[in-house]
């Protein structure tokens, strides 16, 4: 998904201005002309300048405002990406309650299914892999990974 440089430049300018405006409101150090906002103000200002540069380059070069690769027009591929992003976000939100063994297995199964790998072997691989990772991390390396609803089993 490629955006035109003029759009990116405009976004950088807005972002830089927001950083400068927000950081300018930070208090200064006692008896000093500088404070916690000094460095972000410098960064924000550079961001605005860079945004202008990229925006101008974009305006001079022309072209379409956005380009979507042909791969992104395939529903099965979009479904996989949605599972990666939304599925992982959902897992993060419910990580403590649902737990990694169940949540992780469901996520992996959904990914295999959306990527066209629907043979039962892949479902077994997904569950087996998640359970193995969970056991290695929680038992062998003593990393507290939540078991969630399967707490009694793991």
């Amino acid at each position: 998904m490629k955006f035109h440089d003029s759009i990116i430049g405009a976004m950088l300018i807005i972002c830089g201005l927001w950083v400068v405006w927000t950081a300018s409101g930070f208090p200064r150090l006692t008896g000093q002309p500088i404070g916690p906002g000094t460095f972000p103000v410098v960064l924000g200002s550079l961001c605005v300048l860079g945004g202008i540069g990229i925006g101008v380059q974009g305006l001079l070069s022309g072209g379409a405002l956005a380009q979507i690769s042909p791969h992104w027009r395939r529903p099965d591929r979009i479904a996989s990406v949605i599972v990666v992003v939304a599925g992982t976000a959902l897992l993060a939100a419910t990580f403590e309650t649902v737990g990694f063994p169940l949540g992780g297995s469901l996520l992996l199964v959904a990914l295999f299914v959306t990527s066209g790998k629907r043979h039962p072997a892949y479902i077994a691989l997904a569950i087996g892999f998640v359970v193995t990772v969970h056991l290695v991390m929680s038992r062998l390396l003593q990393v507290p990974i939540p078991a969630g609803v399967l707490k009694g089993i793991f």
């Binding site: 950083v19 000094t38 990666v84 993060a92 990974i145």
Partner: protein, 501 residues
């Protein structure tokens, strides 16, 4: 130095260390041999595990994995013409051409041997030069550190590929991410949006895992390319037939490749990718048969492969001495060193000389292990490469989730990984390199702390930044790095205008 080596040997020569090194070597070889999985990603995935290890085994795990992954990336480059890491991209045409001529075993034999020699050379330089540089750097104050950090960041922007302006914006993005959370001098919360989970700042490891792994996963699911058929390797033991004599004839190329690689590795911000490209270019420039380059040149292969692994060792010099990462892998190592209480900088050579020397010894061992383990890897590679990337991708996502969560046992890590990873995908799609952003996240705190401290010392006067001789010299170097591309661009433009007329 000898006393430190004697103290370090018991830390390295243990069964536990042997197990760690062998396991990580196998992991590194596996990741390096799978196209699309980078050495940086391998080391990033290791970080959560190293969290629960002692300092020397933790760093040994990363060092061994990185060295093996960098070498192993030559294997898919030769067999299926897909580089495992960017470092192999410089000479992929030669590897591929040699494979097409039926000389894949010899090509890989040369790659294994040159990588090991380059790595050992870089390790020896690291052992000798780093402690000496550390002594000199004891005189450094916040002014010198500020310029040095700026030099590292500038080199990362200028030496990278693609648009310099976009690299600079990527770096600024990383620095802005690093400024999230409580400011160190005043304790004032910045850009936290009222979220307590962001008060401690954006955790480095989830950011790193996300920015390297998530874009790769999205690309895998979206593009779903079919991997090219794997070329037959034949008997791996035949790999070294005649290679010794060839390497002896190419000893000057080996030396030049190793030296160029080490020097580029030492430059803050540059890494094995850049070392490999520049060494290949130098080799071609001084070759009597430059027309062979890209068509199966064994000489070019020797130099670039040696530069690959020597640059990896060289990158640890600025990392250990100044706390400035030479590349993204050393950026991870610096993070691990901080977690382990071994704050990189000149003092660490005085306070933990034996531990640092133990880490350097691991470098030597890892690079020597490339030869026997590389042989094994080549034998197994054709099997590993048959595993479709689409099958591996979901499993990698599971690793990423667990890795990001385990840093501070909080789901915030997973969210950071996902948000920054998705953003990194959009960045790369639009020509913004991710590496400068990573360097920005890693070095943001160092740059800001030294910038603010220096401003306070100098009463907010910019002149104070160039009053000390070393600081002025470093400032001049930064200026040179900034101005050179502009001069080169102007000269090219003038030449183009003249030829058009």
């Amino acid at each position: 130095m000898l006393a430190n080596i004697a103290d370090a040997l018991p830390l390295v020569l243990t069964w536990h260390m042997a197990g760690v090194i062998l396991a990580c070597a196998a992991f590194g070889l596996f990741v390096g041999a799978v196209p699309g999985l980078s050495a940086t990603m391998a080391t990033a995935l290791l970080v959560p595990i190293t969290f629960f290890m002692d300092p020397v085994p933790a760093i040994a795990a990363i060092v061994t994995t990185a060295a093996m992954a960098i070498f192993a990336s030559d294997i898919p480059a030769a067999l299926v013409r897909i580089p495992g890491t960017a470092a192999s991209a410089a000479y992929i045409n030669d590897l591929s051409a040699l494979t097409q001529k039926g000389r894949v075993a010899r090509a890989l034999g040369i790659a294994v041997s040159a990588s090991a020699i380059g790595g050992v050379f870089g390790s020896l330089v690291l052992m000798v030069a780093a402690p000496q540089l550390a002594i000199i750097s004891l005189n450094f104050t916040s002014f010198e550190y500020f310029w040095l950090a700026l030099l590292g960041l500038s080199a990362a922007v200028m030496l990278g590929t693609g648009s310099i302006l976009k690299s600079l914006m990527s770096l600024l993005f990383g620095l802005l991410i690093a400024s999230i959370g409580m400011e160190t001098t005043s304790g004032y919360p910045r850009f936290t949006f009222g979220m307590t989970s962001l008060l401690g700042g954006v955790a480095f490891v989830p950011a790193l895992i996300g920015m390297f792994a998530i874009p790769e996963l999205i690309r895998t699911f979206v593009n779903r390319e079919i991997t090219a058929p794997v070329a037959p390797v034949g008997n791996p033991l035949g790999m070294f037939k005649g290679v010794g004599a060839f390497l002896w004839r190419s000893k000057l190329n080996l030396l030049r490749g190793s030296t160029v690689g080490t020097i580029i590795g030492i430059l803050p911000g540059a890494g094995s990718d850049i070392g490999s490209w520049i060494s290949y270019a130098v080799s071609k420039r001084f070759s009597k048969t430059p027309e062979e380059y890209g068509k199966g040149s064994e000489t070019g292969l020797v130099e670039a492969c040696a530069a690959n692994n020597s640059a990896l060792s060289g990158a640890y010099v600025p990392a250990m001495v100044f706390g400035i990462p030479g590349d993204s892998i050393t950026a991870i190592v610096i993070g691990v060193l901080y977690i382990k209480g071994l704050n990189p900088g000149p003092m660490v050579f005085l306070t933990s000389g034996d531990t640092i020397m133990a880490i350097f010894l691991v470098f030597l061992i890892a690079n020597l292990l490339i030869v026997p383990l590389g042989l094994l890897a080549v034998a197994l590679a054709s099997q590993v490469l048959r595993v479709p990337k689409l099958t591996l991708a979901p499993l990698i996502l599971a690793f990423c989730i667990v890795g990001s969560y385990s840093i501070d046992s909080s789901a915030t890590g997973i969210v950071i990984m996902l948000v920054l990873g998705t953003f990194a995908y959009l960045m790369e799609e639009n020509g913004f390199p991710v590496a400068p952003a990573i360097l920005g996240i890693v070095m943001g705190l160092l740059v800001e702390r030294n910038f603010v401290t220096s401003l306070i010392k100098a009463d907010a006067s910019i002149l104070g930044f160039v009053e000390r001789p070393i600081a002025a010299g470093l400032a001049l170097l930064v200026l040179v790095v900034w101005v050179t591309p502009a001069i080169l661009w102007l000269r090219q433009r003038r030449r183009a205008v003249t030829s058009w007329r």
